[in-house]
């Protein structure tokens, strides 16, 4: 098991003292090699859940356990280290660092992890080549197409060979053709053994992974294993 969520509850308190319950008592396990697609309408709490899984958003109550360690019992510094080494993250808007080129954007988490510059750059270059960006190594984000930026962001998420790759609406800003291309990329990465949890509001993508979780009003409404037949349909 890669990650275990125990009774996660997340409540946001606004300035006007109104509170919003974003995630309500969610428990789930992520097994090695799984590709979980979390689906739900806007405001269903799926992104909040993903950020909580990613050691970025402490839950109001409950535990996120990774390799026997409660992530939120760790100091901020150790939690950052855990996030750097064990968890990869792909954002909806890619969030590439504007002043770093593709190679440097991908290598940055590896440098943070303490890799030598040479090793980090080599690993980044290998990943970018694998995802077909060998010709774009020295390009800044503004010089890349949307699909290329997304692939750079995926490479960045994978550079430290994390236990789990979390993707928040990775196709949210894409046309159907690019969406299919990106999903194929995720499936390919998953086939090579990478555990993935992806959040999307697009119901058409619910069959992409091998487990589908449907969220509604902060809770898991339905959960099912996606069979090969489902995918064929």
């Amino acid at each position: 098991m890669i990650l275990q969520l125990n009774d996660i509850r997340k409540e946001f308190k606004g300035r006007s003292n109104h509170s919003v319950l974003a995630v309500d008592d969610v428990s789930m396990q992520v097994e090695a090699g799984e590709f979980i697609v979390v689906n739900g309408a806007s405001g269903s709490g799926k992104s909040t859940l993903l950020f909580t899984m990613g050691a970025m958003l402490p839950p109001t109550s409950g535990q996120v356990v990774c390799d026997g360690t409660d992530l939120y019992a760790l100091s901020p510094s150790r939690r950052s280290k855990m996030r750097n080494l064990r968890i990869g993250f792909v954002f909806q808007t890619f969030n590439l660092i504007s002043y770093l080129n593709s190679l440097e954007n991908v290598a940055f988490p590896a440098l943070l992890a303490g890799s030598s510059k040479k090793a980090a750059m080599q690993r980044a270059e290998d990943l970018l080549n694998r995802l077909g960006l060998g010709e774009r190594l020295s390009h800044l984000p503004v010089e890349l197409s949307v699909g290329e930026r997304q692939r750079v962001a995926i490479c960045r998420g994978l550079v430290n060979a994390p236990d789990i790759l979390l993707a928040d609406e990775p196709t949210g800003n894409m046309d159907p053709e690019l969406t299919q291309e990106t999903m194929e990329l995720f499936r390919g990465i998953n086939r090579q053994g990478q555990t993935i949890v992806m959040v999307t509001h697009n119901p058409e993508l619910s069959e992409t992974g091998n487990r589908h979780v449907l969220m509604e009003k902060g809770s898991i409404r339905a959960e099912r294993i996606v069979s090969a037949e489902d995918k064929a349909l």
Binding site: S47, M56, N95, Y99, F108, L140, N160
Partner: protein
Amino acid sequence: MRSILWMTYRELSVRKASFIIGLTMCGLLISMFVSIEWSLRSRGNRVQGDIDQMGPGIVVVPPDKSIADLRQFDLGSRYFGTRELVDPLIARLSPHTRAVDVRLSVRIPTKDGKLPVVGIDPARVVSPHETLRQLGKNEVAIGRELGRRLDKQSGDVIRIAGSEFSVKTILPPAGDLSDLAAFMPVSRLQAVTGKIGKANVIRIFPESGRDFAEIRELLTDYGSRLHAVAIDRGEIAETRIPQTLASHRYAVYVLLGVFLSFSMAIWTYLDSAQRLIELATVAAVGCSPAGLVGLLVGRSAVVGAGGALLGVALIGGSKWITEGAFPGSITDLSDLLATALCGAVFFSVAGAVPVALNMSVRNYVGFLQN
């Protein structure tokens, strides 16, 4: 740490606009500091120069002689050789002194008794009497008391050691040795007395803040050949005035430092606020809170250092263009550059730290989700 330095370098080399804004702001503040500092140094030198008119801080006489002997113009027959002692000693003292005034003080027999005569170097003499700096080869200046005793006036002729000299002026009463002596160019006195290349009094005017022990330390190599004596010019001259000048300088330093810190805090805040998503991403991919602080503070330190270089170059360059030279020596300039550099980095970091600490503990998830 390595990755943070690398990020800082990459960011500053690509995101030039923000860097240039910070650099310009810091450079202008540092140039203001440099201008004020030069004015304060100039004022300090003028005040110190006025204090020096009272007399030297240290007097060096032959080893077996004292200040009492100097006051009686009785320095005996031992002299300092200009080449073997005086010139090397001046070279050694020059970084620590404002002036060194070398003299030959002798008593020359005349029909009226022994005449105290002091040879001075008109180009280097430190004295309230401006006339001493204008003495010609065959001219003497005579102290008021000596003039009265010899019944001499300006324009009279006086015979000293077989040579005739014109009395250029009768010095106004100063209440010290100059009232009792005749002054002439040292080279002329050496010639008429046969003491070529000899001196027996070295008046040392230490830089403000240098005490006797420091100067004496520099004289230890010459220990057996001279006797250095500290002259007490009074508490106001030795302590209070230098302290007042120093406290004014520190007040200006602190004021400018606070202003620089405040400006850098604003720059760091505005710059960080513009790129919250970027900082959020850096945090999300595993940069620790301390790493984020390092990133923001590192940028501020680089801007501070760059601003210091720019500020000194701006004012130094403009002085060079308008006046053809830097005010003060190269030592002064390097000293000023070091002060500006250290101060700018310190206050830039001090200004950035609170903002960076605040940024490092922010919850960035909201920015990432949106």
